[in-house]
Symmetry: C2
DNA sequence: CGTCAGACTAGAACACGTTCCAATTCTGCG
DNA sequence: CGCAGAATTGGAACGTGTTCTAGTCTGACG
């Protein structure tokens, strides 16, 4: 009902990847509602039941896609570290990188974020993954110059603001600029007491 | 497809109330999944279709219930203002009041919060209501001693942290104590620079 | 090479939110 | 009271996520 990548054969991993890809394609063109499991199956050239061998639910499937996306971002940030003189600028930089990607594919982001909110067991574990990844990304921007407890709290708090604003955007009561502003202001709120 | 209370006759308002009550009862005993529209209907003594005259969806129904709950809390906080010497203590006080109620009815809270996350149009407008209400509640705890812009940002940020931690709790990857801690630490993070 | 367990397939079947419909019952107005 | 229009009802019907079943394919191992 939920298989960890480690135990998959090559062809299985390929199948899993094809399924995710198909889901992403559908999501990118029509949003959450048009990611229909029957369509994902045909489009991935796989039987409907097979999808459920890899993912516990539609939400788990889409949430898993978001996990991959977040890990990609984390890797990229690791390779090209955040730019900026102050901590606030570096944090703003990574948050902007995170949101810009979503801004370019609004339908897809809506699909993926919606799924991430599901109470489904599989999706919930993806939430943990994503939030952990986001925490690490923010840590990179913060650097090691702070008291660890303080740093941990800042990253978690900003992670919450990020997540919550994202929801506001997905559910349509705030535009993308609102999300950026919110993040920007929160960043300064918690950081301006320390640098500058 | 969505009727505002203002235009309802007495018997209609009663029906609406009965429907909400039925949904809350079911939610309190079995959580989100056991709030089934057919059951809500029979339990409220109403036809299935009638529910959809008052609410656009199951999620809208449950989210509307949460709006009432939040308004109650807001009213209570207005009547018995938050206690505490420092701002942080007062903020902690209202946040604790907000979470304690949910802690007592975990299944019910799960139902209601889950619904609040839905992308459904009706539910989304309830999200705005709830978040606006929460902002006002936090403002009461902050008082008028701050720069309005600063106050606005603090309330929004704490609102985000509250909302996001709630999700973490509902989806089962953090206990209630974690939620309180998170809120507590975030509160101090943004406020300790000003009072103490 | 033969075989056996597990993965895969096609498709039926099921569950529950949502919509639709025809018939009936309210409600307010002349 | 009598009537028109709205609200409500019971229940069928629909869509889509999820599960189940019976049969087929695959690939690892003796």
């Amino acid at each position: 009902m939920d298989v960890e990548p480690a135990t998959l054969t090559k062809s299985q991993a390929a199948r899993r990847e094809r399924v995710i890809r198909a889901a992403l394609d559908l999501g990118a063109s029509g949003g959450y509602d048009s990611v229909q499991m029957r369509d994902v199956a045909t489009s991935a050239g796989v039987a409907l039941g097979t999808i459920y061998r890899y993912f516990s639910s539609k939400d788990h499937l889409l949430a898993a896609a978001m996990v991959e996306w977040t890990h990609d971002l984390e890797r990229r940030v690791g390779q090209r570290p955040p730019k900026g003189d102050t901590t606030a600028e570096r944090v703003g930089d990574v948050l902007r990188r995170a949101t810009r990607a979503m801004e370019k594919e609004p339908k897809l982001s809506e699909s993926v974020v919606t799924a991430l909110l599901s109470p489904d067991r599989g999706a919930a574990s993806c939430q943990e993954d994503v939030s952990a990844s986001m925490t690490r990304i923010l840590s990179m921007a913060l650097g090691d110059d702070f008291d660890p407890a303080f740093q941990a709290q800042v990253t978690r708090t900003l992670g919450h603001v990020w997540f919550s604003s994202l929801i506001g955007w997905v559910n349509g009561w705030s535009g993308f600029t609102k999300v950026s502003d919110e993040l920007d202001l929160a960043t300064h709120l918690v950081l301006d007491q320390y640098d500058r």
